[in-house]
């Protein structure tokens, strides 16, 4: 049976790993992750979309056929054609090129907010979960209170006063989004701390830093990564919504939300001006969501087994 051969191969790999040591183990883990991803088409699609968006954002000047601000008033509101694959907008700018450049703001805001809010939230969660006592209850009160805020409206108020810049948008969104990380981190830390192996490590005299990094953080890695991807998706939409309301990216800069806002007045005559930036936006968010749901399954050992069990009998997966 195939699985016998597989387990023999696994055995061999394990022995080899012992001989060659850690780097090899890391490689093997990486390779098995990739094979697993390959067998899940939806997850694969998500990763593919995200990677493509990343490449497009980085190499925008090389890929885009026109500059994002190249106006040509003779070519206003042209429908999609060979010259302008996705048409032109009200100032005769190439929609494709603007969609390509627009990816930069979305990804920048998404990544920066996740990094900022994630770092702060996880730190707060770790402290709250590990310290306990007054510190913990103070932090969690803070989180509870802020969660009860009408966050988006406050963001609007703040941005309408400080005048939106990329930095301001990122900070305001991060201020609004760190609480989730803190809650989840604290929850996991609390539940892991009660596990016998953590108690054993503490009894054995491990320093608390070692306990946190060796025993608790690994449990946090996958749920936090999943959360980060989901939050990334949420933030990309939030930036677009802010830009749509005129409180996000300001013209001459390009962002998908802004393009949709600008195309609004020409909706009746030029559907392509709002459609394509919206498609790019939705695809990016969909990609992130698909990737996150794949990761959530992968992070859960039981679900992972089920998926594997299914994949082993799936002819398309065997064919690889």
């Amino acid at each position: 049976m195939a699985s016998n051969a597989r387990s023999a191969a696994l055995e061999a790999a394990r022995e080899e790993e012992l001989l060659r040591g850690r780097p090899y183990a890391v490689m093997r883990a990486l390779r098995s992750t990739v094979t697993e991803l390959w067998s899940d088409k939806a997850g694969m699609f998500g990763v593919f979309v995200m990677l493509v968006m990343l490449v497009i954002a980085i190499f925008a000047p090389l890929i885009a056929p026109y500059g994002p601000d190249e106006q040509s008033l003779f070519d206003r509101l042209q429908s999609p054609s060979a010259d302008h694959l996705l048409g032109t907008d009200q100032l005769g700018r190439d929609v494709l090129s603007r969609v390509i450049y627009g990816s930069r703001v979305s990804l920048q805001v998404g990544l920066a907010v996740v990094a900022l809010a994630g770092t702060f939230g996880v730190l707060m969660g770790l402290v709250a979960g590990y310290r306990g006592g007054r510190t913990s209850s103070f932090i969690m009160r803070w989180v509870d209170t802020q969660v009860a805020f009408p966050g988006l409206l406050l963001a609007l108020v703040i941005l309408s006063v400080v005048h939106p810049s990329l930095k301001a948008i990122i900070i305001v969104l991060a201020l609004n989004g760190w609480m989730v990380y803190a809650r989840i981190t604290r929850g996991i830390v609390l539940s892991t701390r009660e596990r016998p192996y953590v108690e054993a490590a503490e009894l054995a005299g491990c320093k608390s830093r070692r306990v946190i990094f060796r025993h608790i953080l690994p449990n946090l890695a996958s749920p936090l990564l999943t959360l980060a991807v989901l939050e990334f998706a949420r933030m990309v939409i939030a930036e677009a919504a802010l830009s749509f309301l005129g409180l996000g990216t300001q013209p001459p800069a390009v962002s998908w939300g802004l393009m949709i806002a600008e195309g609004r007045d020409y909706l009746a005559s030029a559907w392509w001006v709002i459609t394509f930036p919206g498609v790019a936006l939705s695809l990016t968010v969909l990609g992130a969501n698909l990737f996150a749901s794949w990761m959530r399954i992968t992070a859960d050992p039981l679900q992972r087994e089920r998926r594997f069990a299914r994949a082993t009998t799936d002819p398309s997966a065997v064919a690889r």
Partner: protein, 306 residues
């Protein structure tokens, strides 16, 4: 129970207080309030008079005290643009928003319950797969874009429904659908997965073994358990709708509610009006949060409100 509610109300008051503080700090201390509040071309005398009017020539604590006294009396001052009592304007617009939220969220609730349960009854079937893919796609699309596409298709191309404003029921359709769209996506996922979890529970087997019909087993025994996570999420969606989507959706459809009001206040830099909107929304958020907890307790006897 009573003590719990009192405590939650106190916490709610704290939230509202903090929101007003944040609003005060951002509008009065960040930058020059007069610059922010007055049009650019105002003369020096106008500025001075305006400062006096707002009490800006007083000390900060004195200003804050005046502001708080105003808030307690629901007196935020006059809207800078409309020259009327700000809270009055907001309250006048409130019913339109409540109507939209009720319609949109009501639609979202019914549709996602039906779709989610149907999907869970035959997991892996064609309907289930369609529901999952559809809801993933729905929750990935930004509301304002969906709204515009709907306008393009139903108002521009098919000329079936009006694209903006408030009037008869036909004016409500597109905004409500837009508002429900992403919520349906998220809720279908949760309803489906909680129903799947519950159907795998032994008590469902017990219900079948007792001789109960499939409909009663799913509709009463499993549904009650499903409603715990689903209602929690729904409460969150309500808050999101009131404190976020309204601004976007009402703007797209020029729906005369507090969200559109907030958008216009932002465009006109009418911060006094904006403060009034934020204050009212904050109160709604607090109330909904408390309601969620109470409903939660009513459904699940295991939850102790402490």
């Amino acid at each position: 129970m009573g003590r719990y509610i009192v405590r939650r109300l106190a916490q709610g008051l704290l939230v509202v207080f903090l929101v007003t503080v944040v609003v005060f700090v951002t509008t009065r201390l960040v930058g020059d309030p007069v610059d922010v509040l007055l049009p650019f071309e105002a003369t020096t005398e106008q500025r001075a008079e305006f400062e006096h009017q707002l009490g800006l020539d007083q000390s900060i604590p004195a200003q804050f005290w005046d502001y708080l006294v105003g808030v307690v009396h629901l007196d935020f001052g006059e809207s800078l643009v409309l020259r009327e009592d700000a809270m009055g304007i907001v309250l006048e617009r409130l019913p339109a928003t409540l109507l939209l939220v009720a319609a949109g969220m009501g639609l979202a609730f019914v549709v996602s319950m039906v779709l989610g349960v149907l999907a869970a009854l035959r997991p892996g079937g064609w309907f289930d797969r369609l529901a999952v893919v559809g809801s993933l796609a729905a929750l990935s699309m930004p509301e304002f874009w969906v709204g515009m596409l709907l306008i393009y298709v139903f108002a521009v191309e098919l000329d079936l429904l009006p694209s903006s404003g408030k009037g008869g029921i036909e004016h409500l359709v597109l905004p409500a659908v837009t508002m429900a769209f992403a919520t349906i996506g998220r809720m279908v996922m949760i309803v489906r997965s909680s129903m799947l979890d519950e159907l795998a529970q032994p008590y469902v087997q017990t219900a079948r073994a007792k001789g109960l019909s499939g409909r009663r087993t799913v509709g009463i025994h499993a549904m009650r358990n499903v409603s715990v996570p689903v209602l929690t999420l729904f409460g969150w969606e309500l808050i999101l709708a009131l404190a976020g989507y309204t601004a976007v959706v009402e703007t797209v459809f020029a729906w005369p509610g507090i969200g559109y009001l907030a958008y216009n206040a932002i465009v006109d830099q009418d911060l006094i009006l904006l403060q009034a909107v934020v204050f009212l929304v904050a109160i709604f958020v607090v109330v909904i949060n408390i309601l969620i907890d109470i409903v939660y307790r009513a459904i699940d006897p295991r939850i102790q409100l402490a």
